[in-house]
């Protein structure tokens, strides 16, 4: 069976066989860079299309259906439009920071890709502190947003950026705590180990109710962390017009827009890896026959299926709920999510020590 693992190994061996070590490493960097950028552009096109279709169906509409077959090329046309549009830098803006901000947000999104396992053995960097790396780097994106808000010299942007800062800093706590639940259960921070530990069942099913609670809290917290509705206070179009990216236009705006969707993809990929077993097919205990049948589905399909399911759930949130107010948002975190996830972490630790999980 054609496996991505074989391809990567073959390429790796061919490069190291034909080139000196330094050049081979460089060539691998280039390949990864090209792959990451192309993944980003494809993700942007697919996810924006998906969002528009999901929202359309929930709003009893058809959605884009003119460009291409069933409107599938709509996002391509939109991207073209954004590329040719003038990227305006407002007078009085801090030009350097203003132009830097979208790239900071984008690069952060790119860096988090590193430890994610897209399929069996298809991973950029299997670092031993993978989960820690992800949580650490993802908090850098708030700098990009603050930078954009500050440098725009626009009061709406500033308000949006400050809201975003307060929001991301607080929601990182409960996201981190719910991630810790899985780390406690697995006993490792390495993504490969976490996936391997779910060979006989995903953590969501193995870890009793505490892990389900952790999963729900994780979903809520990452929705807030990626600034998606109902936590899109940084944008809040009815209050702050467009929040931190009010002044951005053209391709710089597109980068923010793209980064939002890529961030959604990444947090959903992490959620799928931690709670739903990443690329691991659905295995149930010792049912050899069933597990064997499930193995026939390629691991990348499993990974993408789980990720896109979570993305759909996050979109479902967005098109159903009203937005929270800033104080309610912080209330929810500090009065509800954080205490619950702390107690939950204790319970999970007890389960892990006593070995009560399956």
């Amino acid at each position: 069976m054609l496996s991505l693992e074989h391809i990567t190994n073959a390429v790796h061996q061919w490069l190291y066989g034909n080139l000196s070590e330094g050049w081979a490493l460089f060539a691998e960097f280039v390949i990864i860079g090209v792959l990451a950028i192309s993944l980003f552009s494809i993700l942007g096109l697919v996810l924006i299309m998906m969002e528009r279709k999901v929202s359309a169906y929930m709003q009893v509409r058809i959605g884009p259906n003119r460009v291409g077959k069933k409107g599938m090329l709509q996002t391509v046309a939109d991207t073209l439009k954004l590329i040719v549009k003038e990227g305006l830098t407002p007078d009085g803006a801090d030009k350097f920071l203003f132009n830097l901000a979208p790239f900071v947000v984008m690069v952060v999104a790119m860096v988090i890709l590193a430890p994610i396992a897209f399929a069996k053995g298809f991973q950029i960097w299997d670092v031993n502190i993978g989960v820690l790396f992800v949580t650490a780097v993802s908090s850098v994106s708030v700098i990009g947003i603050l930078m954009a808000g500050w440098a725009s010299n626009n009061k709406y942007s500033l308000l949006g950026a400050m809201r975003s800062g307060a929001q991301i800093v607080s929601y990182e706590l409960s996201a981190g705590l719910s991630i810790l639940c899985i780390v406690v259960l697995t006993g490792s921070l390495r993504i490969t180990d976490i996936i391997a530990a779910q060979e006989n069942g995903w953590w969501l099913f193995k870890g009793h109710i505490p892990v389900i609670i952790a999963f729900v809290i994780f979903l809520i917290a990452v929705t807030a962390e990626t600034n998606r509705a109902p936590f899109d206070l940084a944008e809040a179009e009815s209050e702050l017009t467009a929040g931190f990216h009010t002044e951005y236009s053209g391709m710089k705006f597109a980068l923010f827009f793209l980064a939002e969707y890529v961030n959604v993809f990444i947090v959903c990929a992490i959620g799928a890896t931690l709670f739903l077993g990443g690329w691991m097919p659905l295995h149930i205990g010792h049912w050899q026959g069933f597990n064997h049948v499930m193995d026939y589905i390629p691991s990348s399909v499993w990974f993408l299926g789980k990720t896109f399911f979570l993305i759909f759930v996050i979109m479902w949130f967005r098109w159903t709920f009203p937005r929270l107010r800033i104080d309610q948002l912080l209330n929810l975190e500090w009065k509800y999510l954080l205490p619950i996830s702390m107690i939950n972490l204790l319970l999970v630790t007890v389960i892990a020590i006593a070995g009560w999980h399956f």
Binding site: Y57, M58, V60, R61, F317, W319, T320
Partner: protein
């Protein structure tokens, strides 16, 4: 007691959110509920209400005759000076002078489709037509002449 209240708050809140999600989920899966009309594609089947007020027209019969006597009642009734009637005097075969319209000028760009002119017309010479695709590339194209060239007033209409 506090804890009980806290848990019940969380439960009620989550329940209300899930109820909303069930509703949007229902619409996501039931595409029959979609209400979008794909406008330029459904032009052939698009039926507007017969009373729909899209523009003022002057119906002509097969003999190229209309019912307008040129009494300017519509011109007076119009709040926006949309209608301008230019009259002339025709000489009937008996040698009598008779007032008739030369040009019935209708400014579509000024019209608010209030129907007052149609109400005011004593001979029902004008009516509202259910057309709505009025976009043109030049403003001057919106100034219309409603009586057709060579048309004359129908016999018996006074």
């Amino acid at each position: 007691m506090f804890l009980k209240q806290y848990i019940s708050d969380v439960y009620q809140g989550v329940k209300s959110l899930l109820r909303g999600m069930r509703r949007t989920g229902y619409y996501f899966t039931h595409h029959k509920e979609i209400i979008t009309q794909e406008y330029p594609d459904n032009r052939d089947t698009l039926v507007l209400a017969e009373r729909f007020r899209g523009e003022v027209v002057m119906p002509h019969d097969e003999n190229n005759e209309h019912a307008c006597t040129g009494c300017t009642a519509c011109e007076l009734a119009c709040p926006n000076a949309t209608i301008k009637i230019v009259t002339r005097f025709d000489v009937t075969p008996e040698g009598k002078k008779k007032k008739a319209i030369d040009t019935f000028v209708y400014h579509l760009e000024l019209c608010t489709m209030c129907n007052l002119c149609v109400e005011a017309c004593p001979t029902s010479a004008i009516k509202m037509a259910p057309t709505f695709e009025h976009s043109v590339t030049d403003r001057s194209k919106l100034i219309k002449k409603l009586n057709r060239p060579g048309s004359k007033i129908r016999e018996g209409v006074e």
